[in-house]
C-alpha cells in the first residue's frame, strides 16, 4: 500500500535520510518475525535513532490515523511484529545502547534494542547478571522481552521478565512520554508495569528499560537424567519441585528432540532415551552439593536409567547447548516446524504427553517435545512440509488442538511466546466475551483509536462468536444456509 504523500513527507522530515525504508525489496526484509508462515509487506519501515523521533513519529501517525507495529529483533514466534499492509513498522534496532549500570542498586538501564545477552555480558565485570534467558537471547531485544514477558530456562527460580524489570519509559500513541515503575521497588498508583509486560506493543512503545540484576551464583551444575518412559520423567519433575528444591532450571526433552539435538550439537545426550531431564542447581558449593544428592535420590525413585553431572563450566554449557539449540535442531528434521507454547499444571504432564501423542497420530504429523518442565510450559514442535498438500493447514489445526487441551486441563494457550496474530482464535477458547471486552477497554484507555499493533493479541468479539458457534457444533456449521464472511 502506498502512503499518503503528506504523511510521507512529514515522516521523511522527522527521520532524515537512511532511516526510512520505502522500497519494496528492502521492505521485504521485514515481512515477518519468527512466525514465518505469516507474512505481510509493511507500508513503510522507520528506523528512528532517538526518543524525540519516536515521539514525533507517533504523533504523526496519531494525526493521520496510521497504525504502528513495533519491532525489536523480530524473533517473536507469534507474529507480534508481523507488519500491517497499511501500517508503519517501527524498528527499535538502533536503540542499542546500555545507558547506565548501577551495581549498588543492582540494576541497569538500557535502550529497548539492546540484546538480552548483551546485558549480562556488560554487567559481568560487576559479578552480576540479568536472569531471564530466552533461548533466543543472543538475538532478541529487551524491548521485545518486555513486550512478550519472555521467559527462559532460569525463570523457574528467578522469575519471568515481569519479575525482573523495575522501570520503563514508554511513549504513548499521542507522543506523550511516561515513566512507569520507578528506581525504587514500587511506584504510586496502579501497577502499570505489570500491565506493560506482555502487552505485545499494543499499549505503548517502550524506549527505555531498567532491569534488575542478580549476583552470579558461585556454583552452577547441571544434571542430565535419562528415562526410558516419558511419564516417569514427568513424575520426577513433580517429585523434585515438591521436595522443596527450586532448581535454577528444569527442562525436559523427548526422544525425537533428543536425537535432533544430539545430531546437531553433539551435547552427549543418550539417543535411545525416551526422555531426558536437565536439572540445574545453583548457589554456594555446599548448597549445590546438598541439592544434587537430594535430586539424585528423587531421580532414582522415579526409575531414571542414567545420570550425568557437569563438573566444570564447559561441560555445563555443553549439556545446555543441546537444549538451547533444540528449535533449530528440530528444524533440520523437516522442511518446516511449528512451535507451540502452552502451559499446564505440572501434575497433568504425563496425561498431556499421552494425549499430544494421540493427536500427533491422528493428524499424521510428528511432534518433538521440548518443555520448560519445571513450570509446566510445553513446546511441542510440529514437523511438517508446507509444500506438501494440506500439511501446513493440518499443522495449524493440530497446534490449535494442543492449545485447547492445555486450556482444558487448567492451563493456558501461551506461556511465553505471546498471542500475536497466531493465537488470536485460541484466545476465544481461553477467555469469555466479557473478559475480552475488558481487554479492549484497557486497550482503549491507552490507545483510543486502536493504532498500536491493531488486530493482534486480543480478538474482536464477532470473530469469537463465529468461531465459537463452529466449535460447539464440532465441525458441523450451525445455520449452514447463512452466508459467512
Amino acid at each position: 500500500m502506498t502512503a499518503d504523500p503528506r504523511f510521507l513527507s512529514s515522516l521523511r522530515t522527522i527521520l532524515g535520510g537512511g532511516s526510512l525504508i520505502e522500497e519494496q525489496e528492502e521492505l521485504t526484509a521485514y515481512e515477518c518475525d519468527g512466525l514465518s508462515a505469516h507474512r505481510t509487506i509493511p507500508m513503510l519501515v522507520a528506523l528512528p535513532g532517538n526518543v524525540e523521533q519516536v515521539q514525533q513519529i507517533l504523533k504523526l501517525c496519531y494525526q493521520h490515523r496510521v497504525p504502528v507495529v513495533a519491532r525489536g529483533a523480530g524473533t517473536g514466534l507469534s507474529g507480534g511484529a508481523q507488519p500491517l499492509e497499511n501500517g508503519l513498522l517501527l524498528s527499535l534496532a538502533r536503540f542499542n545502547r546500555i545507558l547506565d549500570i548501577d551495581a549498588d542498586n543492582r540494576c541497569a538501564t538500557v535502550q529497548p534494542g539492546v540484546r538480552n545477552l548483551a546485558i549480562s555480558e556488560a554487567v559481568k565485570p560487576y559479578g552480576l547478571y540479568y536472569a531471564p534467558d530466552p533461548s533466543s537471547q543472543i538475538a532478541c531485544t529487551i524491548g521485545g522481552n518486555v513486550a512478550e514477558n519472555s521467559g527462559g530456562v532460569h525463570c523457574l527460580k528467578y522469575g519471568l521478565t515481569v519479575h525482573n524489570v523495575r522501570k520503563l519509559r514508554v511513549i504513548c500513541i499521542d507522543g506523550e512520554i511516561l515513566t512507569i515503575g520507578s528506581d525504587a521497588l514500587d511506584a504510586p498508583g496502579y501497577d502499570l508495569l505489570a500491565l506493560m509486560n506482555g502487552s505485545e506493543g499494543l499499549l505503548g512503545i517502550i524506549v527505555e528499560v531498567t532491569v534488575n540484576l542478580l549476583p552470579i551464583p558461585p556454583t552452577a551444575r547441571v544434571m542430565l537424567a535419562a528415562f526410558d518412559d516419558a511419564e516417569n520423567a514427568g513424575k520426577a519433575v513433580s517429585g523434585i519441585i515438591s521436595s522443596g528444591i527450586i532448581p535454577a532450571g528444569l527442562e525436559m526433552m523427548d526422544n525425537l528432540a533428543i536425537r535432533a539435538a544430539e545430531d546437531f550439537v553433539h551435547a552427549g545426550y543418550p539417543k535411545d532415551a525416551a526422555a531426558i531431564l536437565l536439572c540445574e542447581l545453583d548457589g554456594t558449593d555446599e548448597e549445590v552439593r546438598h541439592d544434587i544428592e537430594k535430586v539424585e535420590q528423587i531421580l532414582q525413585l522415579h526409575h531414571c536409567t542414567a545420570t550425568r553431572l557437569s563438573s566444570n563450566e564447559e561441560q555445563r554449557m555443553q549439556l545446555w547447548a543441546g537444549r538451547k539449540s533444540a528449535f533449530p535442531a528440530v528444524g533440520r528434521l523437516a522442511p518446516d516446524y511449528y512451535c507451540m507454547d502452552g502451559t499446564i499444571p505440572r501434575h497433568r504432564l504425563p496425561e498431556v504427553l499421552r494425549r499430544i501423542n494421540e493427536l500427533s497420530q491422528q493428524h499424521e504429523l510428528a511432534i518433538a517435545n521440548v518443555f520448560h518442565a519445571g513450570d509446566g510450559n510445553l513446546h511441542p514442535l510440529i514437523l511438517y512440509d508446507a509444500n506438501i498438500g494440506d500439511q501446513l493447514h493440518r499443522a495449524e489445526r493440530l497446534g490449535s488442538k494442543i492449545l485447547q487441551l492445555c486450556v482444558e486441563v487448567g492451563g493456558t494457550i501461551t506461556g511465553e511466546h505471546g498471542v500475536g496474530s497466531e493465537k488470536i482464535d485460541e484466545m476465544c477458547i481461553q477467555f469469555k466475551p466479557l473478559e475480552l471486552q475488558q481487554f479492549h477497554a484497557i486497550k482503549a484507555a491507552f490507545d483510543q483509536h486502536g493504532l498500536l499493533n491493531p488486530g493482534k493479541a486480543v480478538p474482536e468479539l464477532h470473530r469469537c462468536a463465529e468461531l465459537g458457534a463452529m466449535h460447539v457444533h464440532n465441525g458441523e456449521l450451525p445455520f449452514p444456509e447463512l452466508e459467512r464472511f
Binding site: E287, A441, A445
Partner: protein, 345 residues
C-alpha cells in the same frame, strides 16, 4: 445477597461501595464514603496442591488461616505479607499489595500472584491469569489488581505461588550507624549470599539469612556479626509492633533506591528492605518529605497518622489522566472504593 448481584445493583443505581475484608488496613488510604460491601463470608480454600506450589482461595479467607494451612506443608507465602490484625483477609492482602521484610529478595505481593477472578464495576465476573506460573495470554489484568485497593474490581478469588519454608534461618546483628548499614547491605547484596531481610534501627543492623544449613554457615563466616537473640524481630517489624511504631506521629513510608544515602530529614528512621523501604516518624511538612523522596529517586506515602492531604505521592498529570481512563475501563461509574487511593481516581 451475592457479591456480584450487590455490585450489579450498585452499578444500576450508581451507588458507591466501600469494600471491606477484615478492616485491618482501613487506616491506609482515604476514607471511602459508600455502602459497605464485605467479603468476610466469601471464604475457603478452592485448590491447594503443595507439589504445584500453588494455592487458590476465596478472597475473604483469613490470612492467618492460609498461613497455617501452608505451614502444615512446610510452605509459606514468599512475600511475607503484614496482617495488621487477626482479621486480615487474603483479598485485602493482595488489594493493598503490601509486602514484608523479604520483599527485595523473594519478590512482592504482585510477584506471587498468578491469577484472580474479579467483579468489575459493571458487576461482571471476570477471570484473568490462572494457576500456572507462565501465562501471557491477554493483558496482565490480574497483577494490575494488586495495590489497586479494590478500585478496579472486587477480588473474588486469587491464585498465588507459594514457596517451601527454608531449612534454616538465622539473624545476624552488627552495630553500626545508618550510613555504614546502607553501605554494607549494598555491598553484600551484590554477592551471592542467602540474605532474605535486612533492617537497621537504633545503631543496629540486622541481617536474616535463610536456606540450607551449609549455605548459611558459610555466609555467616563471610559476614561476621553476632547471632541475634531477637527471634521475634522480623515478625514485629512486619506487623509494626516494634516500639518504633508506637507513636502518634505521622509515619511515612519512603520507597527509595536501596543505595540512597540515609535521610537527613528530622525524625526517627527505620531502614528496611536493605534500604529500599524507609520508615520515618516526622512532623515535617508532607511537601518536604515528598521532595526528599523524589530527590532520592523514590516516593513517599503517609502510612499512618496523616494530618490531611494526599496519602500517596500524587501522579503527574498525564499519568493521572491515564489511570483515570483505566479506572473507567473497569468501573465506568466510579462505584468501587472511589477516592481510596487518590480523591480524583
Amino acid at each position: 445477597m451475592a457479591l456480584q448481584q450487590q455490585i450489579a445493583e450498585a452499578f444500576a443505581n450508581s451507588t458507591p461501595l466501600s469494600i471491606c475484608g477484615g478492616a485491618s488496613k482501613q487506616f491506609l488510604g482515604n476514607q471511602v464514603a459508600g455502602e459497605p460491601l464485605s467479603t468476610a463470608e466469601h471464604r475457603g480454600v478452592i485448590n491447594y496442591q503443595p507439589d504445584e506450589l500453588v494455592m487458590t482461595v476465596r478472597s475473604g479467607t483469613p490470612l492467618q488461616e492460609i498461613k497455617e494451612i501452608l505451614q502444615a506443608q512446610h510452605q509459606r507465602l514468599a512475600f511475607e505479607p503484614p496482617s495488621f490484625g487477626d482479621a486480615a483477609t487474603i483479598g485485602g492482602t493482595f488489594a493493598c499489595g503490601l509486602s514484608g521484610p523479604s520483599r527485595p529478595w523473594t519478590g512482592s505481593a504482585r510477584d506471587s500472584l498468578l491469577g484472580c477472578t474479579i467483579i468489575n464495576g459493571r458487576g461482571e465476573q471476570l477471570h484473568f491469569g490462572g494457576e500456572v506460573i507462565k501465562n501471557v495470554a491477554g493483558y496482565d489484568a490480574s497483577r494490575l489488581m494488586v495495590g489497586a485497593f479494590g478500585t478496579l474490581g472486587l477480588i473474588m478469588d486469587v491464585s498465588f505461588r507459594v514457596l517451601p519454608v527454608p531449612a534454616t534461618e538465622i539473624t545476624l546483628s552488627f552495630s553500626m550507624d545508618a550510613a555504614q548499614a546502607v553501605a554494607s547491605v549494598v555491598s553484600w547484596s551484590q554477592k551471592p549470599l542467602p540474605i532474605t531481610a535486612a533492617a537497621w534501627l537504633d545503631g543496629e543492623l540486622l541481617i536474616r539469612l535463610s536456606g540450607a544449613q551449609a549455605a548459611i554457615r558459610s555466609a555467616q563466616l563471610q559476614l561476621g556479626g553476632d547471632i541475634s537473640k531477637q527471634t521475634e524481630f522480623w515478625l514485629q517489624l512486619r506487623e509494626q509492633q516494634l516500639g518504633f511504631f508506637q507513636t502518634g506521629k505521622p509515619l511515612w513510608r519512603l520507597s527509595l533506591p536501596m543505595a540512597a544515602a540515609p535521610l537527613d530529614t528530622p525524625g526517627e528512621q527505620l531502614i528496611e528492605w536493605g534500604g529500599a523501604q524507609r520508615w520515618l516518624l516526622s512532623g515535617e511538612k508532607p511537601q518536604t518529605i515528598r521532595q526528599t523522596a523524589l530527590a532520592a529517586g523514590g516516593h513517599a506515602t503517609c502510612f499512618r497518622n496523616a494530618q490531611g492531604g494526599d496519602i500517596f505521592t500524587p501522579l503527574s498529570k498525564p499519568m493521572l489522566a491515564l489511570q483515570q481512563r483505566l479506572k473507567k475501563a473497569f468501573d465506568p461509574k466510579g462505584i468501587l472504593n472511589p477516592g481510596r487511593i487518590y480523591t480524583d481516581l
